[in-house]
């Protein structure tokens, strides 16, 4: 499935509970959009997480033609909640496709609140990433609560759910299907459509019977021994 089919809006804002895989999805999405010919900017707006941030993949992204902006250009390891002025480029330059990688939970999504008045004037989608193996969002009730918390904090309306259920190197097809079932339940309760299921390339063909399409990824946020 093409990234453009998932990103039917100019700006995609990627939110969700801690550790659901927002950064892996965002990096893959930005790379896929660029590969499809779009002029893409990825904004790493994670101000709550000190490690495994998309800024760690700067050279990979830039070589692929994705421009990366992150919350502290001068010192990517500073744990200060500073926001890059360049973010406005995504919001104001309508020839760009933007992917916004947001920190986890309502607390991480708070960065969006100050840009809310500008965001609502743009063609955007707010994506909620779901991982059924994360204990705090494994039930539909809890997952909906986090989703609503993010909406309340940002003042933005969620428009799509992404099932990114995995177990790192131990992911199986069944895990992804478990996540698909949870995503369907959350979708039913919230009337927000499921945009896609995220899966490593090797699972894609086996999952073709799922009602929504599968977005193939390759793992970019590797650990130092991988």
């Amino acid at each position: 499935m093409s990234a453009s089919a998932i990103c039917t809006h100019r700006i995609s804002i990627v939110t969700g509970h801690y550790g659901t895989g927002k950064t892996e999805f965002s990096v893959n999405l930005a790379l896929a959009l660029a590969a499809e010919g779009a002029s893409v900017m990825l904004a790493d707006l994670d101000i709550v997480n000190p490690y495994f941030r998309s800024r760690e993949r700067r050279s990979l992204l830039e070589e692929a033609g994705v421009r990366l902006i992150s919350s502290s250009q001068a010192c990517s390891d500073a744990d200060v909640p500073s926001l890059p002025a360049e973010l406005l480029a995504i919001l104001e330059n309508r020839s760009l496709r933007g992917v916004l990688d947001i920190g986890g939970d309502p607390v991480g999504a708070r960065v969006l609140a100050r840009f809310q008045p500008k965001i609502v004037q743009e063609d955007y989608q707010l994506i909620y990433v779901l991982n059924a193996n994360r204990p705090e969002v494994r039930t539909a009730e809890a997952a909906v609560r986090y989703l609503q918390g993010i909406e309340a904090t940002t003042g933005l309306t969620c428009t799509g759910i992404v099932n990114n259920t995995h177990l790192c190197g131990e992911t199986t097809e069944e895990e992804i299907r478990k996540g698909a079932a949870l995503a369907a339940e959350v979708s039913k309760e919230t009337n927000i459509p499921v945009l896609c299921h995220v899966a490593e390339e090797k699972f894609v063909s086996a999952l073709s019977d799922l009602p929504e399409t599968v977005f193939p990824i390759t793992i970019k946020m590797k650990k130092p021994w991988e």
Binding site: Y18, G19, N49, P50, Y51, F52, D77, A78, D79, N131, N133, R134, P135, R138, H166, L167, C168, E170, K223, P224, W225, E226
Partner: protein, 356 residues
């Protein structure tokens, strides 16, 4: 039980709750802030007490007080914060109280960096506080071990009435891994009849104290502590050996570098180089005898110690254990930089070349 995906720091907090932690006292610092964050939400749900103290010094002294009252008490921090806790830790050791301390290590010295480090080995194993005391130091190298060790740490602390530290570098605290909640082997724990938790009809008050004004009494107290430490050395030493049976080159590493070493081993073995890994799991007590015996084996030609430290700290214990039987080289980075698989392979080859 089905596996779940947990972030190291959240898993530490959940493990402590499952181990029956009654009280958590902490202060935020990157890269461990998820521990107090998770505790603040979930510990009260289980009837426990969470306090964000005004400082690390206050937090460790609250642990001292709660432990003295017989509670299962814990604190967590990262390197500079652990430095601040040292006074409290020596008081806890001196007063013979059980307590669990988590150090999610970052690069130093001073404020250093928020990226992972292992420069607190000396502080953890030599005692960062004053006096002749020992802290049991457990070193996990993945999130599963971390949750197992945190649960066990409470039992070890209770069994010996001594502080137990779990040191994991920042990467383990921050990374996501699948884990399962498994049964921790039960220990026979002594009753806390020493706790200052009310007289309850006894003929005496329990007193929590580390002050012994009479030098002879203090000397006697130290002897008693020493006997206890000897008991810990006898019972608690842990390590892991991977492919050491025929290894010519043995990598010594703990925590994340040990994890990276496993990938390096695979690559070295694929090239026909007989490489193994010796991973201390308890940093104190250090697996000295096991390493000494491994060094004595004829097939072992050289050691390569790898740490996230500028010129190495654990390497001193490795040298004491190897006792000059075989040469020891070193690979390390400080300041939050992790050694790479490629560097390890190159250093291993170099170390072997020098002895052949």
């Amino acid at each position: 039980m089905a596996k779940e995906l947990w972030k190291g720091n959240e898993a530490i907090a959940e493990a402590a709750i499952r181990a029956g932690c009654d009280c958590f006292f902490g202060y935020p610092i990157t890269p461990q802030s998820e521990v107090p964050e998770y505790m603040s939400v979930h510990l009260p749900e289980h009837g426990g007490v969470f306090v964000q103290a005004e400082s690390e010094v206050a937090a460790i002294n609250m642990v001292y007080g709660a432990a003295g009252a017989g509670m299962r008490a814990m604190t967590s921090s990262s390197s500079p914060g652990i430095s601040l806790k040292q006074e409290g830790i020596t008081y806890i050791a001196g007063a013979e109280l059980p307590a669990v301390i988590i150090n999610c290590m970052r690069g130093g010295p001073g404020l250093g960096t928020i990226q992972p480090g292992q420069g607190d080995y000396f502080q953890a194993t030599r005692g960062g506080g004053n006096g002749d005391y020992r802290t049991v130091v457990l070193s996990p190298s993945n999130v599963q071990e971390t949750v197992d060790f945190v649960q066990e740490a409470f039992d070890i602390a209770d069994q010996y009435r001594n502080p137990v530290m779990v040191v994991c570098d920042g990467l383990i605290g921050q990374m996501m891994e699948p884990i399962e909640w498994r049964e921790i082997p039960k220990r026979k724990l002594p009753p806390k009849d020493w706790a200052a938790s009310g007289r309850k009809g006894r003929d005496h008050h329990n007193v929590i104290n580390s002050l012994y004004m009479d030098p002879e009494v203090c000397d006697e107290h130290n002897r008693h502590l020493d006997e206890k430490y000897a008991e810990i050395v006898k019972n608690e030493i842990r390590w892991e050996e991977v492919e050491c049976e025929d290894a010519e080159l043995v990598i010594t590493a703990y925590g994340t570098p040990a994890r990276i070493a496993l990938t390096a081993l695979e690559a070295l073995r694929a090239e026909g180089i007989k490489a193994g890994l010796f991973r201390p799991i308890t940093l104190w007590p250090f697996p000295e005898k096991a390493l000494h015996e491994l060094a004595a084996k004829e097939h072992v030609k050289a050691f390569l110690d790898v740490e996230m430290s500028s010129s190495g700290q654990m390497i001193d214990d490795v040298r004491l254990a190897v006792e000059g039987q075989k040469p020891i080289s070193y690979l390390g980075h400080a300041g939050g930089v992790m050694p790479t698989v490629e560097e390890m392979i190159e250093s291993a080859k170099k170390a072997l070349k020098e002895v052949k």
